[in-house]
Amino acid sequence: MTGSRREQLLSIGLPVATAVVLAALWQAAVSLTDIREIMLPAPTAMVAKLNANLPTLLEAALVTGREALAAFALAVVAGFIVAAASSSSQLLRETIYPAIIALQLIPKVALAPLFVVILGIEAEARITFAALLSFFPVLISTASGLSNTDPNAMRLCRSLRASAWQSFWSVRVPFALPHFFYGMRISSTMAVTGVVIAEFISAKQGLGFAILSASAVSKTATVFAAIAVLCALGLGLYGAVAALERLAARWYRG
């Protein structure tokens, strides 16, 4: 009815309106006061810079995106395997799992310079570092999903005399899928973050490098433009994972 149509419109309209109003206020603040462009460029200036530098920015985005994707893929595969292994026996679970939780709590970003020292300033260092960052979310949420299977479903498997391998793939994995995808979504963000941090430290290309070098010479509008491209990249990766999750959900809900 009209009431719910109105709600639908509001739920899209209000956030968009908020964004537009904020951008307008920002634009007005910049043009009415004498804030220097170094401090805060107007949205229009940013769009102009984005337009002007689009080819270079896209090239940088390609580099960053490729590395983030590689790191993400590595993290997902490794995270799933370690989760499956650590939830396969109680001994392994009790031994490894708390250590993993502890590792999750410590600030792993601080390891970035170490990766550069050990692996050099090439892509491998950045990919490995980003993979390490994004490995933990997949691992932890998959492991918790795999170890919280519905006990009745496990009993069913046992009564059918299913092998461990069968019950793993046909019951525990499907039950753990929502957790797995939740971990993947967080990981996708961490992968991009990891590559950018590594690029801050050592890179001659990529969006992190573009942001840092533009900020070093106070080209703030360019910094903003690069951040916008990076956000688009992060959202793209996240969106891809979310889409995959939808597909999987449709499959296992039948």
């Binding site: 009815m1 009431g3 719910s4 149509r5």
Partner: protein, 293 residues
């Protein structure tokens, strides 16, 4: 004096018109708008409940019984018609109306005693006075010794007892109960029915009680209202010929079994037609109009 005596004593039958029409439901209609389509849950419901009367509502699943109850409690607005309690239209919840939901709805971090005292805390009632009353109610439903347990340490039936105590704490004039025992097993359910009969023996309250169990309705109620499929109306209003005080022994009466069978037949035929026999009491058949979907 015993604080439990705070309960109102059942008014004699020769009560005034105001007492006979303690609750008035007149042409109550409810349309839910969800998404692009709307659902008419209740089309035209009218009935009265006298003070001190226990009225059970029977009807097919999804016909709008919960909706009707929530409207009586002021938790849902009527689309058309009016519901008045003690002469005032019910537009918002009142402290004098107690509600028992299908689930006990206990707050998991509070103890049994704290859960029972929750209404006192919300309504700023004197804590000390109500603490004694809460203790008495807890003793009455047989939960003595469990005052400081938390809900997860109780069984389902025990949790429902806590919910009963909470609903009775501030001595409401009127109790609304929405299938309070439907999640319980048959034996626990009988136990809870006994608890309710005991409460009604001590201090009769006005009550609307939704149930799916014909037996429970006949056992507990003074009248049974029968509702149709959605969009619902009241098709029959059956007086239960058993007096009070009442206990589980009425279930053994042949009359009891016959009444249950008749009601079951009525539900199966989906009409309000009852094979009428002397002593069955009057059957009201409110006219129906509307009913478009």
């Amino acid at each position: 004096m015993d604080t439990l005596a705070m309960g109102t004593i059942l008014d004699p039958p020769e009560a005034t018109a105001a007492a006979r029409q303690f609750i008035q439901v007149r042409g109550a209609r409810k349309v839910y708008a969800s998404g692009d389509k709307s659902v008419e849950a209740l089309s035209d419901v009218s009935f009265d409940v006298a003070k001190g009367e226990f009225v059970a509502i029977l009807g097919p699943s999804g016909c709008g019984k919960s909706t009707l109850l929530m409207m009586c409690g002021g938790l849902e607005a009527v689309t058309a018609g009016v519901i008045t309690i003690a002469g005032t239209p019910m537009t918002a919840p009142r402290a004098s109306v107690g509600i028992m939901f299908q689930d006990p709805t206990l707050l998991p971090w509070k103890t049994v005693l704290q859960n029972v005292l929750f209404p006192a805390r919300i309504q700023h009632l004197p804590e000390m006075e109500y603490r004694d009353r809460a203790q008495q109610l807890i003793d009455m439903v047989g939960l003595h010794g469990f005052e400081n347990k938390r809900p997860h340490e109780l069984s389902g039936g025990m949790r429902q007892r806590v919910a009963i105590c909470r609903a009775l704490l501030n001595d409401p004039d009127f109790l609304l109960m929405d299938e309070p025992f439907s999640a319980l097993d048959a034996i626990t359910r009988d136990e809870m029915n006994e608890v309710l009969l005991d409460i009604w023996r001590r201090y009769a309250k006005t009550a609307l009680f939704v149930t799916h169990s014909i037996r429970e309705a006949v056992l507990l109620a003074d009248r049974v209202l029968m509702m149709t499929r959605r969009p619902a109306t009241v098709v029959a209003d059956i007086r239960i010929p058993f007096g009070r005080p009442r206990d589980m022994s009425v279930t053994e009466a042949p009359e009891f079994t016959r009444l249950c069978t008749q009601l079951r037949g009525m539900i199966e035929r989906g009409t309000g037609q009852l094979d009428r026999r002397p002593g069955d009491g009057p059957i009201l058949q409110p006219g129906r109009h509307g009913g478009e979907e």
